[in-house]
């Protein structure tokens, strides 16, 4: 380990999926279509840092996270984990790295095996990776449960998922990732299935783990959650990061017109803060036909003729107040 590189460095990542043309399409030799789910994404993530990838459904945030973990095949770009290029590694070569990078899924009702007791669910990754003796594994399971806030561990270890609430299940899912001592944790919408009153508890676990040095990549559609917990925010639109920067800067001084619109429509808690939401008409287009110029131009309230001539790159906007603030728009 050295200080010159971030734990995770992603550069120009591309992930494409073929789209079925149907029988008629194939016979009539229609061109093969692809969804460009991730279309040139670059970011880095340090130890002890939480980066939130935010955006609407279909923006490519989950595909980005799955590519980073090599759960889906990438079509281009580079992924360096702790300085090592992992985008070309074989399944076998990846195996020792797997325990260093883990994922928590959205739905704790689906992600836990209903026939496994809590203890067995959490111990399984240790067995897969052949870690420790039986006794050591048992201790590790208890420690992971307590890290995930299920204390005392003895109270939960022999229970089945159906005996637990949604929040407790998500804590079990988190414990099952922590037991391997990962350095990178991807949390894909970790609280969107849970009741409001228990969400903060789950998020504060991620917060504490980040403070202990874990790198957390949080995928969320909820800007308020990102605003509260993340150190940095990257806003995605149609497979690309359109704005990125330290959380307060992105929330308080958004520059990209998409980020501005998105922030304006997030409902505020205080009824006295009823602003005028800047509602974009229509819906996000699909990522099969992405325009070769600015992908947000067709819906952009600020678009000018020049927006149809260039595909804007991320650069520091003129009005930014932080050196690490980037936006992909020629008008800011």
């Amino acid at each position: 380990m050295n200080g010159s590189h971030s734990l995770l460095e992603v550069e120009d990542l591309v992930a494409r999926y073929p789209v079925g043309r149907g029988v008629v399409g194939a016979v009539t030799r229609q061109p093969k279509l692809e969804v460009r789910a991730v279309d040139g994404v670059s970011f880095s993530l340090d130890r002890g840092e939480m980066l939130a990838l935010v955006g609407e459904s279909g923006c490519g945030k989950t595909s980005t996270a799955q590519s980073v973990l090599r759960l889906i095949e990438t079509s281009g770009g580079s992924i360096r984990f702790d300085g090592q290029e992992i985008s070309g590694l074989s399944t076998k070569e990846l195996r020792p790295l797997r325990r260093r990078m883990q994922i928590v899924y959205q739905d704790p009702y689906e992600s836990l095996d209903p026939r496994f007791r809590v203890g067995a669910t959490i111990e399984e990754p240790l067995e897969v990776h052949k870690v420790g003796s039986r006794q050591e594994r048992r201790e590790a399971v208890k420690a992971a449960l307590e890290l995930a806030g299920l204390t005392p561990a003895e109270l939960y270890i022999d229970r089945y998922p159906h005996e637990l609430s949604g929040g407790q299940r998500q804590r079990v899912a988190i414990a099952a990732t922590l037991v391997l001592g990962p350095e990178l944790l991807v949390a894909d919408e970790p609280v969107s299935m849970l009741d409001v009153s228990v969400r903060a508890g789950i998020l504060s676990i991620l917060d504490e783990l980040r403070d202990k040095g874990l790198a957390v990549l949080m995928i969320t559609h909820d800007l308020s959650t990102a605003a509260h917990y993340a150190d940095r925010i990257a806003v995605m639109y149609l497979g690309r990061i359109v704005e990125e920067g330290p959380t307060r800067e992105v929330i308080e001084n958004p520059q990209h017109p998409y980020t501005r619109a998105l922030l304006s429509v997030v409902p505020k808690r205080d009824p006295r803060e009823r602003g005028t939401p800047q509602i974009l008409r229509g819906e996000t287009p699909n990522s099969i036909h992405i325009p070769p110029w600015c992908r947000f131009q067709p819906r952009c309230p600020m678009a000018i003729a020049d927006c149809k001539t260039v595909d804007p790159e991320l650069r520091r906007p003129a009005a930014s107040t932080h050196p690490e603030h980037r936006a992909a728009c020629i008008r800011v």
Binding site: E56, S197, R269, I279, E283, T284
Partner: protein, 327 residues
Amino acid sequence: MTTPLLEVEDLNVWFELPSGGELHAVRGISFELEAGERFGLVGESGCGKTTAMLSIMGLLPPNATVAGEVRLDGENILARGEETVSPHRWNDIAMVFQGAMNAFNPVKTVGSQIEEPMELHGIAEGRIARRQAEELLERVGIPKDRADRFPHEFSGGMRQRAAIAMALACEPRILLADEPTTALDVMVQAQILELLVSLAADFNLALLLVTHDLPIVAQVCDRAAVMYAGEVAESASIDALFHTPKHPYTRLLFAATPDLRAGGERVASIPGAPPRLDKPIVGCPFQPRCDRAFAPCPTETPLLKTVGERHVAACHLNDHVREPATA
């Protein structure tokens, strides 16, 4: 004083369980709704908000028992069950169900599904019904030529607009909307909420918005009731609920909700879980999770009492002289 458009008084719903027990899902809730008013019913899963809506519509399953009154223009529509509810269903009170956008019949065009309630209720038929369906679609933001399309040709946001158009087919005066934006992206959510607000204004519709999402209620509604464990914990103007809550649950629920603006403020979860509703609840149902519980809470059930102008709360803190709870 004039009679409110809709008054719900001491509404109770019990479900008979297959195991033999009974689940008391809605426990004596009361609220009222004026014409053109936007009222929110907020609470977490299992608090009884959807069950309360279904009982207003008279659409509960056969294992449910209902007590209490739902008065429309002063007349109790629950008086003789289906006989008294059905003349008002869709004609006066309509509902956009949770997940309605996924409940269209996949083999019928969207237009014909909006015409169906008109024909069933004798509002319009044939070409007239078609024209009214097209007008409704245009009103909710869907070009009228889409009436001949099938649901799968619509995006999620468009299907939700169509579901709203369908609920409005018989020109109701009250629209119940159960989690109308839950599965939608934030931009589409903003579009749908904007639509509901403008429909309420244009048609003088009373809107009853059921949601778990406090900020949505804060932005859309005039007044709201916060439900907990089948009861109304507090009901007031949305401004009073946020700025001067009189029930700890309201205050804690707001405090558990992250907000864009309040960057450094701590978001805290509420420890514990709601009580089981298949057993009697002794004392205040929120007491085990409350940060302000004191002597009477575990044993005495707090009653809903007036604590301000059109502001009621069920909390012992309001009876005893103590420092007021602050947000």
